[in-house]
């Protein structure tokens, strides 16, 4: 069996196509394990994984932890609220202390872009990025991609549009890199204030009109609006955002085609997506969650068993 090019998963930028394919193909194996009565394999027995979370997250951490336990690794959870970070310790000191306890794999989330790469270059453990600022969230993009592939079989020529606050979204960035590598046509849609500078130079189409975006799309990935951060700063009001960019049944009905609908969760019902759509037949929002555990098992397995 082949192995990944890199010993860390820091993002999907510049990750070769065969690596993404390897992860997606391995995921199918782990999905099959998740359907067994006993959902546990001894693959990572004896390896220690620390979930180093400097930013609040419930579902990503639980998803990783389930994946780690189902691979029989020893799991340690570290979160900023219970850590010495608040006592003024630097990130590097924290990481070196944890590493001194002989950890094999670090799954890390942090609010600062580049912080996972920063530590991976200064520690000997293998790092998996569980989200760093607005930079990357590769396992989320991979689970989005397998959720797409399960329905469409291929990425070639597939029109995928990511909708929402692209500028502040690590999910958007990882999806853009991964999907472009796999041969999809990628677009984004949102108010101009939420589209980062020069994005079109990556080969991404930009829509500010939601109906044009939906007309283009085979698949849409609807991002969560960060209620606490964005209202009033990047757009005038939630009501206006919903009316202008919210995914509603009425809007979809005018298309004359069915779209595949993804959302990384948690959903703000009635803001970026209407309940009828989120819970409807075109939505793969819950399968995404299941795929998330399998994708993380695949990534942990490929990183944990990769020969140096």
């Amino acid at each position: 069996m082949s192995s990944l090019t890199n010993s860390h998963l820091l993002g999907l930028h510049n990750v070769p196509k065969q690596d993404i394919e390897l992860i997606l193909d391995s995921t199918d194996t782990f999905l099959e394990i998740l359907d067994r009565p006993i959902k546990k394999v001894p693959t990572l027995q004896g390896q220690t994984v620390v979930n180093l979370f400097f930013e609040n997250s419930t579902r990503t951490r639980i998803s990783f932890e389930l994946a780690e336990r189902r691979l029989s690794s020893d799991v340690v959870n570290f979160s900023a609220s219970t850590s010495s970070v608040k006592k003024g310790e630097t990130l590097l000191d924290t990481a070196r202390n944890i590493e001194a306890m002989k950890v094999d794999i670090v799954v890390m989330r942090h609010s600062a872009a580049g912080s996972v790469q920063f530590l991976s270059e200064r520690c000997t453990s293998r790092f998996i990025n569980a989200g760093d600022g607005a930079h990357e969230h590769p396992t989320q993009a991979l689970l989005d991609m397998i959720s797409i592939r399960q329905k469409t079989k291929t990425f070639d020529g597939l029109n995928v549009c990511i909708i929402g606050d692209i500028a502040h979204s690590r999910v958007a960035r990882s999806n853009i890199y991964g999907l472009l590598t796999m041969g999809a046509n990628v677009a984004v849609c949102g108010p101009a204030s939420m589209i980062p500078y020069d994005l079109e130079r990556l080969g991404v189409r930009i829509f500010t009109d939601i109906d044009e975006a939906l007309h283009f799309s085979d698949v849409i990935n609807v991002l969560r609006i960060q209620l606490e951060r964005d209202a009033g700063a990047n757009f005038p009001s939630l009501r206006e955002y919903h009316n202008s960019y919210g995914i509603t049944r009425r809007r979809l009905d005018t298309l004359g085609k069915e779209l595949l609908i993804l959302h990384p969760g948690p959903i703000n019902r009635g803001v970026e997506i209407e309940s009828e759509v989120a819970d409807g037949p075109s939505s793969v929002i819950l399968p995404q969650v299941t795929n998330g555990v399998a994708i993380r098992m695949a990534v942990l397995y490929l990183i944990g068993t990769r020969a140096e």
Partner: protein
């Protein structure tokens, strides 16, 4: 009394239009004789082996951190770094703790610099506490020896304060040195806004932040006939604005830092905080614009913005790392490598940007290499190739993106205040 005979040197003095192969005899602080085949029995002979002797270089923009943050740098260590970089004079920005916003702190800087081979001049704060609210006692600061005024590190944004400060500084015939940044646009930014910031997801700093403030400031400068100096210019837009203002006859000058004519924001891709500075590294077009500005005279000076930080302060998440890099010990090598070798500037041009012009902007005495003049000299080699090794720096700090880089040209040392500092 110190007495040295410098032999086998090429003397370059852009003010005197001098480019000649002669010996120089210095006695204490004075150039005693210039001539061919000089000898002096009581002078120590220094063989410069073909290197250049120029008027002493002046870095008009350094942060020596004293008082208040001496773990990063102090006036003595900063001066040692300056001497190693070939500088005989520096102007210290006032963002110390306490800031240089009154005469006593300015006098403290002079006190600490006394007896050093490098002249250390304080720049006074524009506003009290650098808070941007009300102007500092600029007359008293000037009497205490301030050579300009700046809130560097922060912009003056209150337009009423800006106008008053410009009027005061002009009355005192000293430059108002602006750190051009719009705080609302800047808001938490960490790198230049470009495709790179988009790809990395780092909070962007738009070029508008610099361009808008420079454009506004030039309107004020014209209106009150002020004397305005733009610190660390980094954008093509700012260069265009300054160029146009000079053409209209405004009393405007500006400086460019070596990193802004050497590196682009592509260097941020590794998230190394040693490429994080303010203003940030810009695009290849901006780098080109900085070189054009230096060549056509829009940019008057090369200044390092030498900003030391301790390793533990810099070695953190990119967005949390403080802005700034050190530059005194790489400035000349970068200038030769990027500007001289690529024919952007001749050596006399380069000496103007590194000595004549910054001294003129700060109203420091003009230097001349002539008999009877003050012996304030730099010894420069434009040919030796060397690898930057931060461990060898005299600065207390190591925060440079140029460690390991091969440069052509380096300073050999200086002679100033009757002291010879020769490193190589």
């Amino acid at each position: 009394m110190a007495s040295y005979l410098f032999k086998h040197a090429r003397i370059i003095d852009p003010v005197a239009g001098l480019d000649t192969q002669k010996d120089i005899l210095v006695v204490d602080t004075v150039i005693e004789r210039i001539g061919e085949g000089l000898s002096a029995s009581d002078a120590e002979v220094i063989d410069l082996k073909g290197a250049f002797i120029t008027p002493g270089l002046c870095d008009m923009h350094v942060h020596f951190r004293e008082p208040g943050q001496e773990h990063k740098e102090d006036i003595a260590s900063g001066a040692a770094a300056a001497a190693a970089g070939g500088f005989t004079a520096v102007a210290c920005m006032p963002n110390t703790d306490p800031p240089i916003d009154n005469a006593s702190v300015a006098l403290f800087v002079y006190g600490k610099a006394k007896g050093l081979p490098v002249d250390v001049y304080p720049i006074g704060a524009i506003t009290k506490g650098r808070k941007g609210e009300s102007i500092a006692p600029m007359i008293e600061l000037r009497e205490a020896g301030a050579v300009g005024f700046s809130d560097d590190g922060s912009p003056v944004t209150n337009t009423r304060v800006l106008r008053t400060a410009l009027e005061y500084a002009s009355m005192l015939d000293l430059p108002l040195i602006q750190h051009a940044e719009d705080p609302q646009l800047f808001a938490g930014g960490a790198m230049n806004e470009s495709l790179v910031s988009t790809e990395l997801g780092l909070p962007p700093i738009s070029r508008l932040s610099e361009d808008a403030v420079v454009t506004r400031d030039l309107l004020f400068t014209e209106y009150v006939n002020g004397c305005y100096h733009l610190a660390h210019m980094s954008t093509s837009g700012a260069a265009d604005a300054v160029r146009a203002a000079k053409a209209r006859g405004l009393r405007v000058s500006c400086e460019v830092a070596p990193h802004h004519f050497t590196l682009t924001d592509e260097a941020v891709r590794g998230f190394d905080s040693n490429v994080k500075m303010n203003p940030p590294l810009r695009t290849a077009d901006d780098v080109q614009a900085m070189k054009e500005a230096l060549r056509d005279g829009t940019a008057d000076a090369i200044a390092t913005d030498h900003a030391p930080h301790a390793g533990f302060e810099k070695e953190v998440e990119f967005v949390y790392a403080p802005f700034g890099i050190i530059g005194l010990e790489t400035a000349f090598g970068l200038s030769v490598t990027e500007l001289l070798l690529d024919d952007w500037l001749t050596l006399p041009d380069l000496i103007e940007k590194l000595s004549t012009n910054p001294r003129r902007i700060l109203r420091l005495p003009e230097l001349r290499i002539a008999e009877g003049e003050t012996a304030n000299l730099s010894f420069l080699d434009t040919e030796t190739q060397w690898i930057v090794d931060a461990a060898q720096f005299r600065s207390k700090s190591r925060n440079t993106p140029f460690h390991g880089r091969q440069l052509t040209g380096r300073a050999l040392g200086i002679y100033n205040n009757g002291q010879l500092i020769l490193h190589r």
